[in-house]
């Protein structure tokens, strides 16, 4: 495409969602968080629910999510995002509420809250970013780290006999009657991004129906702590993460 000095008269093919702030993101180059933030805000724009949506940020790399999302937000203690979201939703049942949590937050320190929030069928969206590592603290083992994965606390690779197996919490949660919609996605290519966007949009529609918890896992990368380039990390994701965390719907509402 020719560089243009004047965009007057040109067709607008893309714009940043207005619910995304202009604050430069602190995420590393190639990180999935930026993409997930953007499409989440795009959905909120498209549904016109910016003024009716309250988000809860976790402790982890996305602790600053409220700097980028131009909606009312609360920042929760490590692992407690779904409990905070429960408190918000219970007193504001007509608003849209979501928690945005990483694997350490949701599937290690916050496992109790996660299980019971879904078990109560809280009418919220839980968006779960799983990159198999603790990003914020510099690359330690996560509950979802794969067997053999080298992290700063598993320098010789994760071993099942002493460190346990990676936790498929999404499959576990799908068993609970409170779970209404459970699905696993990624943002490693544009087709995947489009699918995730559709799932997020569907989840907000379901939230309006008060049928239970919507749980969306996004299998993600962490180029910095995986010590790879963004491209390498996405290749590694496809080769290693997807076989263990297969993409697709796990529980869908009966039509």
């Amino acid at each position: 495409m020719e560089p243009v000095a004047n965009i007057d008269g040109m067709e607008l093919v893309y714009k940043k969602p207005h619910t995304l702030t202009d604050t430069p993101m602190h995420y590393c180059p190639g990180c999935s968080h930026g993409v997930v933030h953007k499409i989440l805000m795009e959905v909120i724009d498209e549904l016109g629910i910016q003024e009716e949506t309250i988000g809860v940020a976790p402790v982890g790399c996305s602790v600053f999510a409220y700097e980028y999302m131009n909606i009312d937000m609360q920042e929760a203690a490590h692992g407690r995002a779904s409990a905070v979201a429960t408190g918000i939703k219970r007193v504001l049942p007509n608003k849209y509420v979501f928690s945005y949590q990483g694997d350490g937050d949701l599937a290690a320190i916050g496992t109790g809250e996660t299980v019971h929030t879904v078990n109560r069928g809280e009418n919220i969206l839980m968006l779960f970013i799983n990159n198999g590592i603790y990003g914020m603290t510099g690359g330690q083992m996560a509950p979802t780290s794969l067997i053999g994965m080298k992290t700063t606390t598993t320098p010789f690779g994760r071993e099942a006999s002493t460190m346990g197996n990676p936790l498929k919490i999404t499959e576990l949660l799908a068993q609970l009657p409170g779970a209404y919609f459970v699905t696993r996605h990624s943002v490693h290519n544009t087709a995947a991004v489009r699918k995730l966007k559709k799932a997020i949009a569907a989840s907000f529609k379901y939230q309006k129906l008060n049928k239970g918890t919507c749980f969306i896992e996004v299998v993600s990368n962490c180029p910095s702590n995986w010590k790879m380039t963004p491209v390498e990390s996405n290749e590694w994701l496809e080769k290693n993460m997807f076989p263990f965390y297969p993409l697709g719907d796990i529980k869908v509402p009966k039509s």
Binding site: E51, T53, V91
Partner: protein, 364 residues
């Protein structure tokens, strides 16, 4: 019996149930809890009365940890929110109380104390004084702390605690004990709806198109900003000092001043009577707010009294604050029982008499 709006009512009630009824009447909008003896009646009473209060959120959480974080969410969304528990459960909440204090969220926290440390006992104690008044969790902060000595005060302090917590945007605690929670007394319940709700323009209720978004956080990653936020909190604690409350009984001419709070203050009232019958000039100072602490009132008494005796149902916690207030001007003795044991008025009198003897031996 459903409460009638707009009328006060007198009933015979258990401390925990009176507290729960008071919460409805004080306009509580959300309660989150988890069972623990000796305060389980609070959630039980609320659950039983829930049909009369369809707009109030009442939820039994999976843990105290989850429950207090639900309070964070609800309080942050602008709802008048409350939680109750007993000592071990309150320990579990300390992380979130630190977050809530930093994020300036109002809420009522009730601790019906039991004996510790550890799993301890279900019998009454005042062993959580340090935890309640010194912060309890990490970082520099305080809760507003009220110590009831009767079932009536279990009721009254619900209103006071909600009002103060909203005024200062800081969690407030009612620090009771198992005896006050379990005993029955006559109480007058204020009319429902008598506590106006404070406006909360900072709450996360959905961003208005006319306003900037509301963010509730306790994260200020840059040291300069974190210190600035700490200075805001500290300025608030200075402001709070004017809320200090205490009660003095026969201190005008007292040579020996007992200092006791909560249940222990009621027992010490009896000791004052027994001592006066024996001709001993004994009085009682009872802190009603434990934070802010009546430091100046104690300092003032240190000018007229000859000695102090702090009596607590613990190993000696408030006595440290009494000593700071007396500032070495007079001797401050301590008597306490631990682990759920309650000192009797006569037991306290023995210590009063031994102090009186010492005072006679050494003319001051």
């Amino acid at each position: 019996m459903a409460n009638e709006k707009g009328t006060s009512e007198t009933r015979l009630m258990k401390g925990n149930e009176a507290l729960a009824e008071a919460a409805f009447r004080a306009g509580m909008q959300a309660y989150f809890g988890y069972p623990i003896t000796p305060q389980s009646e609070v959630l039980e009473y609320l659950a039983a009365q829930a049909p009369n209060h369809p707009d109030v959120v009442i939820l039994q959480a999976e843990s105290e940890l989850a429950a207090i974080n639900m309070v964070h969410g609800a309080a942050g969304a602008g709802a008048r929110s409350m939680i109750s528990s007993s000592s071990p459960g309150i320990s579990l909440m300390q992380e979130c109380l630190s977050y809530m204090t930093c994020a300036q969220l109002p809420a009522l926290i009730v601790n019906v104390q039991r004996g510790g440390p550890g799993l301890g006992t279900i019998y009454p104690s005042q062993g959580d004084y340090f935890q309640a008044v010194k912060g309890g969790g990490h970082g520099d902060y305080h809760l507003i702390v009220l110590a009831p000595a009767s079932v009536q005060e279990m009721v009254d302090f619900v209103f006071d605690a909600f009002r103060l917590s909203e005024k200062y945007r800081n969690p407030a605690m009612i620090l009771a004990d198992g005896a006050i929670g379990q005993m029955m007394e006559k109480v007058t319940l204020p009319p429902a709806g008598s506590l106006p709700k404070t406006e909360a323009p900072w709450a996360t209720t959905g961003k208005s198109h006319t306003h900037e978004r509301n963010v509730i956080t306790s994260l200020y990653i840059q040291a300069e900003r974190m210190e600035k936020h700490n200075l805001i909190l500290q300025a608030k604690y200075i402001q709070m000092q004017k809320e200090v409350r205490w009660e003095e009984i026969r201190t005008e001419d007292a040579a020996i001043v007992l200092v006791a709070f909560g249940l222990m203050s009621r027992i010490c009232e009896k000791t004052v009577d027994l001592a006066r019958e024996k001709g001993l000039k004994v009085g009682l100072l009872r802190p009603i707010t434990l934070y802010p602490f009546p430091t100046n009132a104690i300092a003032k008494l240190a000018k007229s009294a000859k000695a102090f005796l702090t009596v607590e149902m613990n190993a000696g916690q408030m006595v440290e604050d009494v000593r700071l207030a007396v500032d070495g001007k007079r001797p401050v003795d301590f008597y306490g029982r631990m682990g759920g044991m309650i000192p009797s008025p006569e037991e306290v009198l023995v210590h009063v008499e031994s102090i009186a003897e010492k005072l006679q031996a050494v003319p001051v």
